[in-house]
């Protein structure tokens, strides 16, 4: 049942020009950044070769690319998630889901899975760029996959927040702005702290993403993302239930 809803969400995305546009724009921007990094490697090739323990090509390219990808997707994910529930509420199609023999949990998980599939597709296309380097060299697989895993977790978190914001309103634009605001806030939380050890810094999304880029898989970071996702999914379910109970 979750799968049924997820595939419809995915199909709805691809039936509108939105998904294609997003895929294309994100790919172009990230390709530009990727090529910039390649150029950098070429420029300093000689100097790198002379260094004692020079950073590998993966280390130069992948963390930077994925770091930028996170920022770009922070801007883009709200556009993908804004319609999830808000548009159904606006078009009054929610009744179809509510009067079918499915639970709120299945509805929410289905919608979440649909968006997640799309984001993973985006991620796969993004991964193709560093993979193309295999044509002329080797990659540090550990660093590469840890970075991708980090980005996947981050995107799942984005999607969960976006889904929740979408359940709050019937205007997709409002959902998009709220999601963007919430994500940006989560991202920059640590800017306020003086040292690095404040509560805010600990809550910051960015601080739990960075270790993945450096190739460090800390289970605490993974748990942080899992908790964030679960929290917002549960909130979404509660919110839809309230829809039915409240007025």
């Amino acid at each position: 049942m979750i799968f049924t809803i997820a595939t419809r969400e995915l199909r709805a995305l691809f039936l509108s020009p939105l998904a294609w546009t997003i895929l294309a724009v994100v790919q172009v921007i990230l390709a530009f950044l990727f090529l910039g990094r390649i150029e950098l490697v070429q420029l300093y090739q000689a100097r790198l070769a002379a260094m004692e323990s020079a950073p590998g090509i993966t280390e130069i390219i992948v963390p930077d690319l994925l770091g930028n990808a996170a920022i770009v997707l922070l801007l883009v994910t709200p556009l993908l998630t804004m319609r999830l529930v808000a548009e159904e509420r606006r078009n009054r199609t929610l009744a179809l889901l509510f009067s079918a023999p499915i639970s709120m949990t299945e509805i929410v998980l289905g919608k979440f899975a649909g968006i997640l599939l799309f984001l993973l597709l985006l991620l796969a296309m993004l991964a193709l760029m560093p993979l193309s380097l295999l044509l002329g060299g080797a990659l540090d697989w550990g660093l590469f996959f840890s970075g991708l895993l980090g980005l996947a977790l981050l995107l799942a978190g984005f999607a969960a927040v976006g889904l929740f914001m979408s359940t709050l309103t019937q205007h997709p634009a409002v959902a998009a702005i709220a999601t963007f605001g919430a994500l940006l806030l989560f991202w920059i939380l640590d800017w306020s702290g003086q040292g690095g050890a404040t509560v805010f810094a600990y809550l910051s999304l960015f601080n739990h993403y960075k270790p993945f880029l450096e190739g460090v898989f800390d289970s605490a970071d993974a748990v942080y993302h899992a908790l964030l996702i679960t929290t917002f999914l549960v909130l979404s379910i509660r919110r839809l239930d309230v829809d039915r109970l409240g007025g």
Partner: protein
């Protein structure tokens, strides 16, 4: 036709803050019944239907669908339920076939039977040629049909239709009514509308809700008994003084249109027809037409809701 109870609504109330949208409503629907659900605008029709369809939780009371409590066991109850809301819940970017397949999947029809279920639903709603068209490009009438197809695709025991004939042309209305009658043979149907002739045409039970409370639940045939006065339509060549007729025994009220036609409201069972004819012959009024008017639902509706007849007429 078995008369198993399909829907049992007992003491359902729903409050929006202090406002009671629905107050202590109870009724049952048996298999093979078509229940017409009437009420002025804002009387609580849609709220009640949303509650029965599981889209809205009642503040108190319980709803049982085909033996399953809607609140305690929503999945089993909703599997026996098809609902067409006021505005059909359609995804405009899908084709009719894609949409109906999705609905079939949502209603847990096994994969192998979906094509069959879709074909049957399309056949019943006259959609055979529309399968590959985008829902967004269909006319309002066809969209309405897709909405109905969606509600019956899983052959639910109970079908709830909220104003299914709004926006349709007369021929489509006839087809949809025939479809509803057809559905009524094997399912239990709840039909909300404010088109009164529609109720007389397709329903076998009528229920009127007013200000959140049920004021009538009656079989169509039983309606006549409920009407407080019966009516005679009389036409004269020479218009008489209505006061003369008003004096006859059993007559409540006489309405004149000024051109010789009168409507005589009288006590049921005390038919003044003979007396009027005798009087007309004596006074040479030139009576050329006299006929009892069928106890109309409209009359009853206006009596029970104390409302403006204009509202009822505007709907027809």
């Amino acid at each position: 036709m078995s008369d198993a109870v399909l829907v049992e609504v007992s003491h359902v109330s729903r409050f929006y803050g202090a406002l009671a949208a629905v107050r202590d409503v109870s009724f049952t629907i048996h298999r093979g019944e078509v229940l017409g659900f009437l009420g002025p605008n804002g009387a609580g029709k849609t709220t009640t239907m949303q509650i029965i369809s599981g889209n809205l939780a009642p503040s108190s009371g319980s709803v049982t669908i085909a033996g399953h409590d809607l609140l305690a066991d929503p999945r089993a109850a909703k599997a026996e339920l098809g609902y067409l809301p006021e505005s059909p819940p359609l995804y405009r970017e899908l084709t009719v076939d894609e949409y109906l397949d999705y609905c079939a999947a949502l209603n847990r029809i096994p994969r192998g039977q979906r094509a069959q279920a879709r074909a049957t639903a399309k056949e019943k709603c006259g959609l055979h040629d529309a399968g590959r068209r985008l829902i967004g490009n269909l006319s309002k009438g066809f969209q309405q049909r897709v909405g109905i197809a969606q509600a019956i695709i899983h052959m639910p025991a109970v079908v709830i239709l909220d104003e299914p004939t709004v926006g349709l042309d007369p021929i489509q209305i006839r087809e949809i009514r025939a479809l509803i009658r057809e559905l009524g043979k094997t399912h239990g149907v709840i039909l909300s509308t404010h088109i009164l002739p529609e109720v007389q045409a397709v329903c076998d039970h009528v229920q009127i809700i007013h200000k959140g409370a049920l004021v009538l639940h009656e079989r169509i045939e039983g309606l006549a008994r409920r009407v407080k006065s019966a009516t005679l339509a009389v036409a004269f060549r020479a218009a008489p003084d209505p006061a003369l007729i008003e004096r006859l025994p059993g007559v409540h009220k006489v309405e004149s249109d000024g051109a010789g036609r009168l409507r005589v409201f009288h006590e049921p069972g005390q038919d003044p027809a003979e007396a009027i004819v005798r009087l007309a012959a004596e006074k040479c009024w030139g009576i050329y037409e006299i006929a009892p008017e069928r106890a109309s639902l409209e009359q009853l509706f206006v009596e029970l809701t104390g409302g403006e007849p204009a509202a009822a007429e505007a709907a027809t």
